[in-house]
């Protein structure tokens, strides 16, 4: 089967040309605005009479609030309002899945940085000074900081030296919420409960807390409406789920809480939960003035959820020939103080946590816990990132135990079309896991590192810092595979709404696409245009601003928008096209089935009739609104975790090549190679961009990115202490994109964004292990892990 191969260096194919249809490297409609600095991000919004809102946050990870005195803040000249939880008119708690998080602190604060009070003033510095004058009397409690201990589970000593569980739970305050410290426990059971195998490998693994670190901080502008409602312009991932939660807190109906997407400076999961949304609306409604809130970088680290830290214990059993017999796994995810999307993350970690391998006997327990650490929720890869570090390390350990090549072991056990997943679902679309790996192996390796006089410092770990001239440097190569569900799972009613209009303006056929799907940088607006151009045969496609005046599009997460909103736009275009062609049929006297739209005309394939759309539509616009769903999924069986829970899987594989200075513990990633099956590349250039970006964030987690939390307190909330990959950290990439159509999906496409974020980091870890011979059971890998110092 022939498959297209695209590399980052490949020249764009449709530069400068008008439009761009499905499969073209179409240019983004927001591109010119962004390069000119004219694209209005949420932090750029401005109204002349606006006030600035700031948030007072708890300095303690766990404390009871005895009293709050806002008087001194109100006395500051320029202050217009100081609000606490008493001023929240509706429900005082909110949440994506469970409403357990206070809009403003109630009697107890459960994490460092929890919002306690709000100030609106005529200048941001005035607001900050006033907030500092609010007097909060805290009764400080000892925080619960270990997920297993919070659940009363014994600790494993190999990777973690947390206090004993009994000690944690003996205190009354050790139960963070009335329903206890367990957010969700997912059990997956399949096959023989007591399996035996020739070869068994056991490993314990730990993954640190990663931050989305989007560059555009949480920001928005709330404007009080004349009807007593509010208009909120905000950077987010899902306007309608925000609207639902804001309405609940404000005790207002949806028609009075109108949201419009402001420019989004990256998201990566960190904008799924509310941040300043309700706060700005409260201040605007209270003062009757527009209120802008914009977090600084430090506050941003406290203003959104992070990737769950994980501790995991895996046991893999296999035959002497290398066939997997069973996997047992215990996975603990630290959800922090509030639930956020922890239940769904547990669902993913539990169901995807064995990787894309066929395993006949399965015993998985996956837990999400409450602690007094920062709340954790969505981040790109969503539960699959953490487990991939564990299952891929296990596959390498098993290969070593069997004396097999690690790639061969993976290919031998790889899922394929028709395989049954650990959750009993038959894979009913292509799953070219083995091919992804074999293509990586076939790619040339970079040149061996130079030695002796040929050493170029610039190519060494540590670079021109002159830390090594090659002595102690070891090369390693590692492989890993990603396995990720696309779109929302477990029976969630996952849909998107698209409104498409076709009309003739100034003699030109123009389509308008209106959805609420958040453009967060991924290029969804480009995809919406490409689909409309393809389906309606027009060049001019206007993307309407994203707002709640149209129905929900669901979240820009779970690699789902091209699939689900793409499907909705396609369906709405088809409905419009059907009506236009029906009109044309009457004019040309031919059956509608013979007619199609192309080049702004109605064309008959049989007779070549070409009727300008202006003749068909006149001054009329044809508009259709469609709510589109992917095929339904089912809840998992609560006892066995079995069921048709996922609509689609994404697969990618990485090969990492690293040079490690084993004396100083420095790692240089020399090259990353990635293969991914995307079903159909709607915009090939953007697909490559997603692979590069996902690879970068995975590499970051592998070797540098971690929010360090000590006793519930964040140690490094800044870009000087929380490091993300720079252009120097990112090596050259080889990328191959495969297109095996998924027959169930629009155009056969497969969600793209998350998979490369999952396989990248474990491949880097595998390469470092190969270079050093160390087990490396914790990520990110730090120099002291490599030097033993």
């Amino acid at each position: 089967m022939s498959t297209p191969t695209r590399t980052p260096a490949g020249a764009p194919s449709s530069v400068g040309g008008p439009g761009g249809r499905i499969g073209d490297d179409a240019q983004r409609p927001d591109g010119v605005l962004k390069v000119r600095g004219e694209f209005a991000y949420a932090s750029d919004l401005w109204m002349d009479d606006m006030l600035w809102g700031v948030t007072l946050r708890s300095p303690h990870p766990y404390a009871r609030i005895r009293s709050v005195d806002v008087g001194p803040a109100l006395a500051v000249p320029g202050v217009h309002a100081v609000l606490t939880s008493d001023d929240v008119p509706g429900e005082k708690v909110y949440g994506l899945e469970l409403a357990d998080q206070p809009v403003l602190a109630l009697d107890v604060v459960r994490y460092q940085g929890e919002p306690v009070a709000l100030v609106a003033a005529d200048h941001p510095d005035t607001a900050r000074r006033a907030a500092a004058r609010i007097v909060v009397d805290y009764d400080v409690w000892e925080p619960v900081t270990d997920a297993r201990a919070a659940l009363g589970h014994p600790t494993w000593n190999q990777v973690h030296d947390a206090p004993a569980a009994v000690t944690e739970l003996s205190r009354e305050s050790a139960h963070l919420h009335p329903h206890g410290n367990l957010v969700r426990h997912l059990k997956v059971r399949k096959g023989d409960p007591e399996p035996t195998a020739d070869v068994v490998v056991v490993g314990e693994y730990e993954v640190g807390m990663q931050d989305q670190a989007f560059l555009g901080p949480e920001s928005g502008l709330a404007v009080p409406g004349e009807d007593g409602g509010v208009d909120l312009y905000v950077a987010t991932q899902w306007l309608h789920v925000d609207q639902r939660q804001i309405c609940s807190a404000l005790a207002m109906p949806p028609e009075k809480v109108r949201l419009t997407l402001a420019g989004v400076g990256g998201a990566f999961g960190g904008r799924e939960d509310l941040s300043m949304h309700v706060h700005a609306c409260l201040l605007a409604l209270h003062t009757g003035k527009p209120v802008k809130m914009s977090y600084n970088r430090e506050e941003s680290f406290f203003g959104h959820v992070h990737r769950h830290p994980a501790t995991m214990r895996y046991e893999h059993g296999a035959t002497r020939d290398g066939d997997l017999v069973y996997v047992k796994a215990e996975i603990f995810l630290d959800g922090g103080a509030y639930a956020s999307s922890t239940p769904a993350v547990v669902g993913n970690a539990g169901t995807m946590g064995l990787g894309p391998y066929v395993v006949p006997n399965v015993h998985v327990d996956c837990y999400g816990a409450y602690t007094n650490n920062p709340p954790c929720g969505a981040m790109r890869g969503f539960g699959s990132v953490q487990t991939a570090f564990a299952y891929e390390a296990q596959m390498d350990a098993l290969a070593a135990e069997l004396g097999m090549d690690p790639v061969e072991l993976r290919c031998r056990n790889a899922m394929e079309l028709g395989s049954e997943t650990p959750t009993g679902q038959v894979v009913d679309s292509p799953a070219p896991v083995a091919e992804l790996l074999r293509r990586l192996v076939a790619m040339p390796l970079p040149p061996e590192p130079a030695t002796g006089d040929d050493v170029d410092l610039r190519h060494m770990p540590g670079g021109v810092s002159n830390t090594t001239h090659g002595e102690g440097v070891r090369r390693g190569v590692g492989y890993a595979v990603a396995y990720k569900n696309v779109a929302f799972s477990e029976g969630f009613d996952d849909y998107s709404t698209a409104r498409v209009r076709l009309e003739v303006v100034g003699g030109e056929a123009v389509a308008t696409v209106h959805t609420a799907a958040a453009e967060v940088g991924q290029g969804l607006v480009t995809v919406e245009q490409q689909i409309a151009r393809t389906e309606l045969g027009v060049d001019a496609v206007v993307v309407h601003p994203k707002d709640t005046a149209v129905g929900s599009a669901g979240s820009s997460s779970a690699s789902r928008q091209t699939y689900v909103t793409g499907g909705a736009v396609k369906a709405a275009c088809e409905a419009v096209r059907g009506r236009v062609l029906e009109r044309a049929r009457g004019l040309v006297g031919r059956p509608a089935g013979d007619l199609r739209l192309d080049g702004g005309k109605v064309v008959s394939d049989l007779e070549g009739v070409a009727l300008p759309l202006a003749d068909v539509l006149g001054d009329d616009a044809v508009e259709e609104t469609v709510e589109w769903r992917h095929r339904p999924t089912q809840a998992l069986d609560p006892d066995t975790g079995q069921g048709f829970a996922h609509v689609q899987y994404a697969f990618s594989a990485h090969r990492a090549v690293v040079d490690v200075d084993t004396e100083l513990g420095l790692v240089k990633v020399v090259e990353m190679a990635c293969t991914q099956d995307v079903g159909k590349a709607i915009n090939p250039q953007a697909v490559v961009g997603q692979i590069q970006g996902g690879t970068a964030q995975g590499l970051g987690l592998a070797v540098m990115e971690e929010i360090l939390v000590r006793d519930g307190r964040v140690q490094n909330p800044s870009f000087t202490d929380y490091l993300i990959p720079t252009v120097l950290d990112m090596p050259p990439m080889r990328i191959e994109v495969l297109e095996y159509a998924d027959p169930h999906a629009p155009y056969g496409l497969r969600g793209v964004g998350e998979a490369p974020n999952i396989s990248s980091g474990p491949a880097v870890l595998a390469a470092i292990r190969q270079a050093t011979g160390l087990p490396l059971r914790r990520v990110p890998v730090r120099p002291e892990h490599l030097t033993g110092t």
């Binding site: 240019q27 962004k34 390069v35 600095g37 560059l215 990256g266 600084n296 170029d456 964030q697």
Partner: protein, 181 residues
């Protein structure tokens, strides 16, 4: 308060400023030039890069009063009305951004970087410091652009765009001699 004359993108404005106000805040909140972004406000991300007399600086680490009378260029001042600067065009063509939040800083930084290179300013990866002209290799571009973070990871597109504008064939330029220091 201090009165300062800010000359930005060819336009001169006299503004009353607290002397503690950063150039970044003066640009964004007084002159309403919001193309320059605040990503970290402490010199770590590069999103606020602007040009002063053609040289790139971080506007968040600069006090506005220090720059009175200097020629400041922000992303809004690049190119001409109706015509993009070649780097702006190349960033679109080579997909050098996704969310775009770092893009203003990346482009201003690249404009300044190309000028530095033309002026013979070496970087720490320049192989021969005494040479009057060195090729602008991919390694040189990466080193010289390493102060500008891109969380979307569009670095390859950024490097491609800059190489295209610099007129350098990347494959040939990487085959340069080893460091001789």
């Amino acid at each position: 308060m201090a009165e300062v004359e800010l000359r930005v993108n060819g336009t001169s404005s006299r503004v009353q400023l607290d002397p503690r106000v950063s150039l970044l805040d003066a640009l964004r909140e007084r002159l309403r030039l919001t193309g320059t972004k605040k990503g970290c406000d402490q010199g770590a991300c590069g999103a606020c890069t602007v040009l002063v007399d053609g040289e790139r600086i971080l506007a968040c680490l600069a006090l506005a009063v220090q720059y009175g009378g200097r020629e400041i260029t922000t992303v809004e001042g690049l190119g001409r009305p109706g015509r993009l600067h070649p780097l702006q065009e190349a960033f679109i063509r080579f997909d050098g951004f996704q969310c775009g939040f770092c893009t203003s800083g990346q482009i201003c930084s690249a404009v300044g970087m190309l000028a530095e290179h033309r002026a013979g300013v070496p970087s720490v990866v320049t192989p021969r410091l005494a040479a009057t002209a060195t090729p602008l290799s991919e390694a040189e571009i990466r080193e010289r652009m390493s102060g500008n973070l891109c969380r979307c990871g569009a670095y390859d597109g950024i490097v491609d765009a800059i190489q295209h504008v610099a007129g350098v064939d990347d494959r040939a330029a990487t085959a340069e001699p080893a460091a001789d220091r």
